[in-house]
């Protein structure tokens, strides 16, 4: 089975919601659409589902154009942000619902319902009504119903966004197990959280403002962000950026910070560049002898899971530092920060990637 999106665009009242989307998706693959709000994720999913029609381009399933196939004839399941279940039916009947409509024998239905419930670990709950379930159990029931049909395509539109933190953690773990076991259905999953594609694996499609910025293997895109925009969207916190120049054999950031010319920077031609540094590559302790030390003023310590994101400013440049563990940082504190030019990403003035850090660094960080 092949699934191809060809030059897909969508305009609404003269406004471009999507432009030039080109994707080739393999059978049994797991794909994450990553982008901030209003990047076009939901629009794209709705086009694929057949809930809306594209303004231009074609959607091809096994070479056949789906554009004119109505939604109920497409073999697709969709999971929404709000988990929707039939409140008057128990879990068993909720899962069985799409099969009953398809006029499948009751023995076959029973077998499918039970095996899907097993996969999602809701077997003991089959006789309960949705109202007697926790949020996570309700979401799993909705998910089981969308999986039970064995559709060609399963679309999931930010399925975890309305769940609380701990539940999200747990269901994400379940998802990964389901994705690993799945070998037929194409799954397309949308999220605003840059951590999710990394946690879930597979391929990623990065969208922003209705455009497709980059697509490919998740970890490959993470390590080689095609543009500055990708680096910003696909990092949480966003990648820190600073202007700089390469001049003779010097690399100077923000006009005054002269840094050692690391191996991956040696081939750069003289000129202006944009340099990027991940929040996790700035430290509060020196890691290597050739680290650059910078003093900075703290603006806020934000806690995310088990990390502290410290917002700092240095000569009007705002940076974010990712610190392991949970620490208190008061407003306006003076701190010393360290980074190494080995970890710099380099973009040209148009924002196109020019150089990336080498893969493995051979030192162990000091925390």
């Amino acid at each position: 089975m092949s699934f191809i999106l060809e030059n897909i665009s969508k305009n609404v009242n003269g406004e471009t919601h999507l432009a030039d989307i080109n994707l080739e998706i393999e059978k049994g693959s797991f794909n994450v659409l990553l982008g901030p709000t209003l990047s076009g994720k939901t629009t794209l999913l709705r086009l694929i589902a057949g809930l809306d029609r594209p303004t231009g381009g074609r959607i091809l399933m096994n070479g056949k154009d789906l554009s004119s196939v109505p939604v109920w004839k497409r073999n697709i399941a969709m999971v929404y942000q709000q988990f929707i279940n039939y409140p008057h039916l128990n879990v068993y009947e909720n899962i069985a619902f799409p099969l009953r409509r398809a006029r499948i024998s009751s023995g076959e239905i029973d077998r499918k319902v039970r095996s899907t419930a097993e996969l999602l670990q809701i077997s003991p709950l089959l006789w309960r009504k949705p109202i007697e379930l926790s949020g996570g159990q309700q979401q799993r029931t909705a998910l089981a119903r969308s999986l039970v049909k064995g559709t060609d395509l399963l679309l999931m539109d930010e399925p975890l966004i309305n769940l609380d933190y701990k539940l999200r953690e747990q269901i994400r773990e379940d998802f990964r197990n389901i994705f690993v076991e799945n070998d037929n259905t194409i799954i397309i999953y949308s999220t605003t959280d840059p951590m999710e594609p990394l946690l879930l694996g597979g391929q990623v499609v990065i969208l922003n403002k209705g455009r497709q910025l980059q697509a490919g293997l998740t970890h490959n895109c993470y390590r080689n962000p095609a543009t500055e925009e990708v680096a910003r969207v696909f990092n949480d916190p966003a990648m820190n950026m600073i202007d700089g120049i390469v001049d003779g054999s010097r690399v100077v950031l923000g006009k005054v910070i002269s840094v050692p010319v690391a191996d991956h920077l040696k081939a750069l031609k003289d000129g202006e560049y944009r340099f990027g540094l991940r929040a996790s590559d700035i430290f509060l302790r020196q890691q290597a002898k050739d680290d650059i030390e910078l003093s900075a003023t703290t603006e806020l310590g934000e806690i995310s899971g088990s990390e502290t994101f410290i917002h700092v400013s240095h000569n009007r440049v705002s940076w974010v530092i990712q610190e392991f563990g949970i620490h208190d940082h008061t407003l306006g504190e003076q701190i010393l920060t360290y980074f190494n030019s080995r970890n710099l990403f380099v973009f040209d003035t148009e924002g196109v990637l020019v150089a990336v850090p080498e893969q493995s660094t051979a030192f162990s960080p000091v925390y």
């Binding site: 901030p36 709000t37 609380d164 933190y165 701990k166 953690e169 605003t192 951590m195 990394l198 946690l199 694996g201 970890h219 993470y222 990092n235 991940r278 929040a279 996790s280 603006e299 806020l300 310590g301 934000e302 806690i303 995310s304 899971g305 088990s306 990390e307 917002h311 990712q322 392991f324 563990g325 949970i326 620490h327 208190d328 407003l331 493995s360 660094t361 051979a362 030192f363 162990s364 960080p365 925390y367």
Partner: protein, 364 residues
């Protein structure tokens, strides 16, 4: 500003009772210090809203007394308690401009015009609202509306406490940090007691000087975010705070070490622990404190690595010890062997729990 005190305050919606199970909020003693930022954190149904309503006076507790600066206000109605509240969804007067919205509480109190003007302008300046003062309330962004709600509390001199009920829910994710920073700045400038109610651990931990963690109508732990992370007093704190959650393993005590089945985990200081521990004993350690190395060391245990997930800024490895999976957070610069490694438990971060409660052991 006031110091709030709970004297054996509890609430049952069925009235005072001997059966604690009927209590939405179990009787408790608690202080809220003047000028501090608190977060009430817990899953839905934990009693945090009941607690909030007791402070604001919307619920009269079935048990105990509430004191503001030593004065018993248990029977005082909400209107007389001088409380300002910012709700989950912005509540502003859309027919008035921003200036009049901020001035409204002061006009109700019949303050002189010049004083109102000074106050409104001061608060607008702090909240960066100066440039929108003449704009109508209608059509402002969600974060601006929340700032106005907050501003209406700040203009008053007599506010005892500002309560914030999930105020950032409606704010765009990339603007949240700015509003979070502003809340901290406001607290610092006005020395206000602030209480934030949320089920989101990141929200609570970012905002608060002290987090009040609740579950099932009870307070599980009160502490700074760092304390909750580094020294969970209860297994629930270890689970609820931090991601991934703390690892727990059933164990027993033997010759100054913790025994997980046949694996001995040395824990110096255990000899000073003379408490007799019957019932469930568990070892708890956070994924970031476990050490997983490629080479053996004296106290390290050889374990299989069954999964490694590269999350960019770090990896999460899953290892198996005595049949149980443990998560280990590995810095990205550290190279891991493929299938197995050596796991050690730094004593400083290895915690002992008896019936879900932390057992203090003086670790050298």
């Amino acid at each position: 500003m006031a110091r709030i005190e709970f004297k054996n305050v509890g609430h049952s919606y069925y009235g005072k009772s001997d059966n604690l199970e009927e209590y939405a909020l179990q009787p408790m003693n608690l202080f809220w210090d003047n000028g501090e930022k608190y977060a009430l954190l817990g899953p839905s149904g934990c009693g945090k809203t009941t607690l909030l309503n007791i402070i604001s006076g919307l619920v009269r507790p079935s048990d105990g007394r509430v004191l503001f600066d030593g004065e018993d206000i248990t029977d005082l109605p909400t209107a007389k308690r001088n409380i300002a509240q910012v709700f989950q969804f912005p509540v502003i007067y859309t027919t008035m401009n921003v200036y009049n919205n901020l001035a409204f509480p002061l006009r109700c109190r019949k303050l002189p015009r010049t004083e109102i003007d000074t106050k409104v302008k001061d608060v607008a300046k702090l909240l960066n609202l100066t440039y929108v003062l003449t704009q109508p309330g209608l059509g402002l962004t969600a974060d601006a509306k929340q700032l106005i709600s907050l501003g209406r509390g700040l203009v008053r001199n007599d506010v005892a406490v500002i309560m914030l009920d999930e105020p950032l829910t409606v704010v765009d994710p990339h603007l949240k940090w700015k509003l979070r920073r502003k809340l901290k700045e406001v607290n610092k400038t006005y020395k206000l007691t602030m209480i934030l109610v949320t089920h989101d651990q990141n929200e609570a931990m970012t905002f608060a000087d002290k987090v009040v963690l609740m579950r099932d109508g009870q307070i599980i732990q009160v502490g700074t975010p760092q304390e909750l992370f580094e020294n969970p007093q209860h297994t629930f704190t270890g689970y609820f705070i931090g991601s991934p959650a703390m690892n727990f393993m059933p164990c027993r005590l033997e010759n100054n070490a913790l025994m997980v089945k046949n694996t001995r985990i040395p824990l110096p200081g255990l000899e000073n622990c003379h408490k007799k521990l019957d019932g469930t004993i568990e070892l708890g350690i956070r994924p970031e404190f476990l050490r997983l190395e490629a080479i053996p060391s004296p106290d390290a245990v050889n374990v299989p690595i069954v999964d490694v997930r590269d999350l960019g800024s770090f990896s999460i490895a899953t290892v198996v010890l005595e049949g149980q999976e443990l998560k280990v957070k590995v810095p990205k610069a550290q190279l891991l062997p493929k299938d197995q490694g050596y796991l050690s438990f730094p004593p400083k971060w290895t915690k002992l729990y008896h019936e879900d409660k932390l057992v203090e052991i003086s670790c050298p």
